[in-house]
Symmetry: C2
């Protein structure tokens, strides 16, 4: 990492930390500069203003996230829809845990229904939805998925995937589990896969064999 | 409703609407006054300041919410743990839909991990957790629930219950469903109950009959 990239990364990390802690509106460039030990003028040099910084945060997060989806859906034909969806769940939960602050900030903003970069959010959610739809459609077609409503099942899955981030504090303080620790991440992945088996997958190995 | 109660309610409604839209920090008493068409001095008379207003919002929301839980868990012995948990799911999803703005604001703040009335939130979440734990324990004891990890199952259920609120905009704009319309509420309840059957309930009617 060269010095410029390092500085940029330090700014991003400080920004995400403060957005997560205090919210976007309550955070100033001065706060971010103080946290990152960087002159606010320098932040302006890289990102113009707080909105530019936010846009960069969102875009780089979602580009990486969409890569995760894309990589998995590329091999849909080889793996089949059940394997593919299970791998998606695994990779998304790992990705979110690795990018905890950004995920947390983004889900928070989504929940608050703020006008904050509405277009960016919906653009990426449309893409995300497209990938899942491809997998579900193959699952329905091959009768490996039950006849459920796609949007309702997707909303349920979204709830499962976002819970360890959105309810992170609740998990720590009330349930006494630590959803960012790898032991719990793996356990949660396992149980989310049980959820897929229990609500979505047609677990009839004979039919599955007949198709392969 | 007398005039005082009406005024108070108008202030609360305006406050929740603005907190939800702009976030707590970005909302001023002046904004609330403007929205409710009430003099800001009047708001100060009823609630002292913005924090007092917030505390009142949270407290009255959670008192009603805890009532919903309490009413259901009171009849746990009559209904058994499976029926009781299904009724809880139904009533919670209805309650949240009825109090959409408040639910949305509270989940958003939870996701952002803000220090906003941390104590109030954790006090009520501890209570909520207590009620669920009572139901799960009876379910485990009577072998009507599978041997799952309570905190992980609870986190999953929390994800299911919060999804229609947290992902409301996503539902509308990406999935084209309207999770506040009664058709979708009922459909979502049905599928959340499928989730319980698929991941938690031991569906062995023989054993169930033997116990009753």
């Amino acid at each position: 990492m060269n010095r410029q990239t390092k500085t940029k990364q330090a700014i991003l990390d400080a920004a995400l930390y403060l957005f997560h802690l205090k919210g976007f509106h309550a955070t100033s460039l001065r706060d971010i500069g103080q946290k990152a030990q960087i002159n606010p003028a320098n932040i302006a040099y890289y990102f113009k203003n707080k909105n530019g910084l936010l846009e960069f945060c969102l875009t780089s997060y979602f580009e990486d996230y969409i890569d995760v989806l894309d990589r998995n859906v590329q091999v849909l034909d080889d793996k089949g829809p059940q394997e593919c969806l299970m791998d998606l769940v695994r990779d998304i939960l790992h990705f979110q845990a690795k990018n905890f602050l950004a995920s947390s900030f983004i889900y928070g903003e989504t929940a608050l229904d703020s006008n904050l970069n509405r277009e960016i959010l919906s653009t990426y959610y449309m893409k995300e939805n497209y990938y899942f739809q491809v997998v579900y459609e193959k699952g329905f077609k091959e009768k490996l998925f039950r006849h459920v409503s796609f949007p309702i099942s997707m909303l349920q899955l979204k709830g499962q995937l976002s819970a360890p981030i959105i309810h992170a504090r609740y998990s720590r303080e009330v349930l006494h589990i630590f959803p960012q620790e790898s032991y719990y991440i793996e356990k949660y992945i396992e149980d989310t896969i049980h959820f897929l088996h229990g609500t979505l997958f047609n677990n009839e190995p004979v039919r599955k064999l007949a198709l392969s």
